[in-house]
C-alpha cells in the first residue's frame, strides 16, 4: 500500500504542491486569525488531522514493522545509502550559501562513501572525520534572505513553511532517486526511504504524545525552532525572553 502511495506522491508532488499553495493563499485572506506564526492555521489543522489518520493506519505501522524486523546494521546501511544519495545536493546547497569549505567536504564524503563505502552503504567518511552537513534548498533561500512565507502543514510531507515547500519541490529535481529506472525500482526506493525516515522518528513519537498540551502547536513550534537552528547551522542568535 505504501509503495503505490509513495509512487503517486513522488509523481504528483510538484503539481499538487503548487495547487495546494494557491489554495492555501486563497484561504488565507478569509481565514487569517490570531497567531502571527501560523497565518494559515485554519488550513493547517484539518490537514494535520488528515495526516494523523494516514500516519496511524499506514505510515507508522509499516515503520514499526520495519524497525522491529530489520536488524540494526541493515537499518544503518539503509540510512547511510540515502544519506549518501543526498550528499551531492547538500554540497550544492553548501556552495550556494557560500560555504565552500563545507561543500568540498560534502563532495569528498560523496566520493569516499560511494567507493570505499560501497555505494554509500557504509559511512566511511564520518569515521574519517568528514562530518555530514545538514543543508537543503529551503535553508539556502533563507540564507539568501527569503522570508518563511507562513507555516503550512501537509499530509505525508508534514510541516513545511512556504519557503521550505518550494525548497522541497526544487529538491525533488535534484534527488538522484527520482532518476532511477525502471520506475518500479525508483518507487520501491522512494518507499523504503519514506519508511526509513518515519522509523527514525519513532522514538520521538511518545515524547510528543506525552509532552504536548496541543500536539498540533507542539509540532509547529518544534518545526519553527528546528528550522531556525538549521538555517544558522546550530548556532542561532538568542531570542529575547
Amino acid at each position: 500500500m505504501t509503495d503505490s502511495f509513495c509512487a503517486s506522491a513522488v509523481r504528483g508532488t510538484q503539481r499538487l504542491l503548487v495547487g495546494a499553495l494557491v489554495f492555501a493563499f486563497a484561504c488565507s485572506a478569509a481565514l487569517a486569525d490570531g497567531n502571527p506564526n501560523d497565518p494559515y492555521e485554519s488550513f493547517n489543522r484539518p490537514m494535520f488531522a488528515v495526516n494523523e489518520v494516514i500516519d496511524k493506519y499506514a505510515a507508522k505501522p509499516v515503520a514499526q514493522a520495519y524497525d522491529n524486523v530489520v536488524p540494526l546494521p541493515v537499518k544503518a546501511s539503509v540510512g547511510n545509502f540515502f544519506g549518501n544519495a543526498g550528499d551531492l545536493w547538500v554540497g550544492v546547497n553548501s556552495a550556494l550559501q557560500g560555504k565552500f569549505g563545507d561543500a568540498g567536504i560534502d563532495l569528498g564524503r560523496l566520493l569516499i562513501n560511494s567507493t570505499v563505502g560501497i555505494f554509500g552503504l557504509f559511512d566511511v567518511a564520518s569515521e574519517l572525520g568528514l562530518e555530514r552537513h545538514d543543508e537543503d534548498f529551503g535553508q539556502t533561500m533563507a540564507v539568501w534572505g527569503a522570508g518563511g512565507g507562513g507555516y503550512l502543514f501537509w499530509p505525508v510531507l508534514g510541516p513545511r513553511n512556504v519557503r521550505d515547500t518550494i525548497g522541497f519541490a526544487v529538491g525533488t529535481y535534484a534527488d538522484p532517486v527520482s532518476y532511477v529506472r525502471p520506475v518500479s525500482v525508483r518507487n520501491s526506493m522512494a518507499a523504503l526511504r519514506f519508511v526509513d525516515i518515519r522509523a527514525s522518528l519513532l522514538p520521538s513519537d511518545k515524547v510528543v504524545e506525552e509532552a504536548a498540551l496541543d500536539k498540533y502547536a507542539y509540532i509547529r513550534d518544534a518545526y519553527l525552532q528546528r528550522r531556525r537552528n538549521q538555517i544558522f547551522d546550530g548556532r542561532p542568535p538568542r531570542l529575547d525572553d
Binding site: 506525552e210 498540551l213 528546528r226 537552528n229
Partner: protein, 179 residues
C-alpha cells in the same frame, strides 16, 4: 564538568538496566528524580515557558505551575531516555571564562545510520551551584516550545486555567501509565 558527570552517570545506569530499556517509565522517573533533578532550576524553566505572563502570576500560582510543569517535563525527559540504546554522547568544547554565570554546554548524540542530534544545556550559576534552565534538542528548546501553548491556555482561562490544564495532562498520563 557537571553535565558530563551527570550524563555519564545516568547513561551508565540505563545501559545496565533492562527494565528501563524496555520502557519502564516509572523506573526512569525514579532515576531522573534522584540523579538529574537536583541540577535543574524548574522555576526558571517555567518562567521561560510562560514568558511575560510569569510576572503577572502570584507567587502561589508560580509555585503551582512550576510543580505541575516539572512533573510534565520529567516525564518527557524520562521518555526520551528510555529510547536510548546504541547512541553515543560526545561533548563539544565549551567556551567559558571563570567569571561567567551563564553557559551553554553543547553535546551531540551520535547513532549509527542517522545524522547526529544536537543536545544543548543552558546552565546558570546560582548560590547552590550550577543549574540547568533549558534543554535544547536539535535546536528545539523543550521549555520555550511551550510558549504558544501556554499563551493559548492563559488567553482561554487565565493562569489558573493553565495550571488546571497542565495538571489534567499529568493526571491523564499517570492514569495511562498504570494501565
Amino acid at each position: 564538568m557537571l553535565v558530563q558527570r551527570v550524563t555519564d552517570d545516568v547513561l551508565e545506569i540505563i545501559r545496565k538496566d533492562k527494565d528501563i530499556q524496555n520502557g519502564d517509565t516509572h523506573k526512569v522517573i525514579e532515576l531522573v528524580d534522584k540523579k538529574v533533578l537536583p541540577h535543574f532550576n524548574f522555576s526558571h524553566m517555567t518562567a521561560l515557558a510562560l514568558g511575560k505572563e510569569w510576572r503577572k502570576a502570584s507567587p502561589q500560582q508560580q509555585q503551582q505551575l512550576t510543580a505541575e510543569f516539572k512533573t510534565l517535563l520529567v516525564r518527557t525527559y524520562a521518555n526520551a531516555l528510555t529510547g536510548y540504546k546504541n547512541q553515543k554522547v560526545v561533548y563539544k568544547p565549551t567556551k567559558m571564562a571563570p567569571t561567567d554565570t551563564d553557559v551553554l554546554v553543547r553535546t551531540e548524540v551520535q547513532q549509527p545510520g542517522s545524522k547526529p542530534v544536537q543536545l544543548d544545556y543552558s546552565l546558570e550559576k546560582l548560590e547552590s551551584g550550577w543549574k540547568v534552565y533549558d534543554v535544547v534538542v536539535a535546536g528545539i528548546s523543550l521549555v520555550t516550545n511551550y510558549r504558544d501553548q501556554f499563551g493559548q491556555e492563559v488567553r482561554n482561562g487565565g493562569i489558573d486555567g493553565l495550571i488546571a490544564s497542565v495538571a489534567a495532562k499529568n493526571k491523564s498520563l499517570e492514569a495511562n501509565s498504570k494501565k
